[in-house]
Subunit: 316 residues, 2 copies
């Protein structure tokens, strides 16, 4: 069997290797993605985002266990540098994650594609595609909810849950950080701590205020729910899973799912085109002067010279 | 006088317009930067970064007033979405900023270059170059210290101060967020609050631990100082300014400043080359199919087709 057949057959090692190919932009990785294109679209993609320390990984783990109990398989992509999935975490957290990783029906991958030509959001989307093709029912993408590129990743999911905790500041801060724009669902995690009810009320007020303005408190008519969870005690997880399902079902029934996904597909074509031209540019860059040689020439003159060289036909 | 002459003459409106040209990638903006190239290199560039709510803007403002008292002019670039400079702030903060903006010798610019081809870090660097050419003595770049691209911006300065507060979590969290890598200087702000001394001690411990490993606690032999400030009371600001100067002087005297800046210049050439090829790719993308037309074709097939078209010579 070739790699794509092994992925479709659900072989975890084939999937892991394919994701590495995508991350490394190994020769033929786009052919592989192209080949699997008609296998993509079955999984539901869920973004989990929020500030550091909001308990995103604990929630992701709890949600994953919930799905497993329902006989659903789960692929997890962690792009959060503070996540135990990616290594930046306390020992206890990491032990729990390792336990999860050994469960049947769970596939965990952490992404760190600094230096990848396509950028982290493109690579993450393609890794999700591969998990989708491999037959995982739910794909959970955990990202830190600060920084535009991180938010872009979270919002490329079908449904995005924004996780906040009483300690992470008030709702106004979440709004400022751009979290409001990506939320299909709010989760007030660590809801047993002081301030949880107050945070929930603040979020509700902010959203009702925004409903009166041009900005949508609901997206296309979807009323954004606010849920309370205690991730460590797995409390509120069923409600969270239901909330995620509700949003997905609403997307589907309102006829918004297909156009949204079609838009996302076209976006992939755009990103793939840009990645290719970038690869060409990086190839020309290899002929750039050294730091010492470059002192006398202005940066824009160097760029112009290399651009002309590339445009002149050296595009092997 | 043409625009570049007016910039060099220190006309704020000319500078503001030039930065807009760069942000919009208006025709000829690279010629302008090229033209000003030999005017660049006099200013000291200071990055101020840290988590949301650390008081970066208040410190930036206090530092700016300190410089003004020393008859130094200051250009401020705010790329932090939670900064009052960029609008996402409490009313009181914003009033203070507006006062600062009206001072002689201060130039404030907020950057929000979503969608710019060069990316936020490139545009920020070029805006700094323009401020440098305009004769500002200090250029303070305030960015949110979460997310890789934000950290890239902060670390493109000559000297980067990482601002933490007792509430923003412990030193371990800062380390995980990548803040340790960019810090030339740590600032424990809001030092009158409980936990400030503990945070300072934690940072000191973490850095001493790292000194024993391969990771540098000091960068190239620079011992990273930890300072305490109370931004709102302007306490510790002189020490901060001295700390920043000490680092710059150390860079200069150790012979590291010039090679670092030369590397940064060459990086600009690289970024300019990539921006140009990206512009070409975006031009070809305008001939992409609509979402409806694209349904039947795989994203990679669309990308291939457009790439071939572009490679085939349609590079007008």
């Amino acid at each position: 069997m070739d790699l794509s057949e092994r992925i479709v057959a659900g072989e975890p090692r084939a999937l892991a290797r394919a994701i590495s190919y995508v991350e490394d932009e190994r020769d033929g990785f786009e052919d592989l993605l192209d080949h699997l294109d008609d296998r993509i679209g079955r999984a539901r993609r869920i973004g989990i985002t929020g500030p550091p320390g909001a308990g995103k990984s604990t929630l992701t783990a709890a949600l994953t266990r919930h799905y497993l109990q329902q006989s659903l398989t789960v692929g997890i992509i962690a792009v959060d540098p503070t996540s135990p999935f990616t290594g930046g975490a306390l020992l206890g957290d990491r032990i729990r994650m390792n336990e999860l990783a050994s469960e049947e029906g769970v596939f965990i991958r952490s992404m760190a594609s600094r230096g990848s030509l396509g950028g982290l959001s493109t690579t993450t989307r393609e890794a999700s595609d591969l998990m989708d093709a491999a037959g995982y029912d739910r794909i959970v993408i955990e990202t830190l909810g600060v920084g535009q590129s991180e938010l872009d990743i979270a919002s490329s999911a079908d449904t995005t849950a924004v996780v906040l905790v009483p300690e992470s500041g008030d709702g106004v801060q979440a709004m400022k950080a751009g979290l409001m724009e990506v939320a299909d669902l709010f989760v007030v995690n660590k809801a047993d701590r002081p301030g949880a009810d107050r945070l929930e009320k603040e979020l509700a007020i902010i959203m009702s205020v925004r409903a009166d303005t041009t900005a949508p408190a609901s997206k296309d008519g979807w009323r954004i729910p606010i849920l309370q969870t205690i991730g460590l005690e797995e409390s509120g997880i069923e409600e969270l899973a239901n909330g995620l399902d509700n949003h997905f079902n609403w997307l589907n029934e309102s006829g918004l799912l297909e156009p949204r996904r079609a838009e996302c597909r076209l976006r992939r074509a755009h990103d793939a085109l840009l990645r290719r031209t970038k690869r060409d540019a990086e190839k020309v860059w290899r002929t750039a002067p050294s730091i010492e040689e470059s002192i006398e020439e202005s940066p824009y003159s160097i760029a112009q010279r290399l651009y002309d060289k590339w445009k002149g036909g050296d595009r092997s």
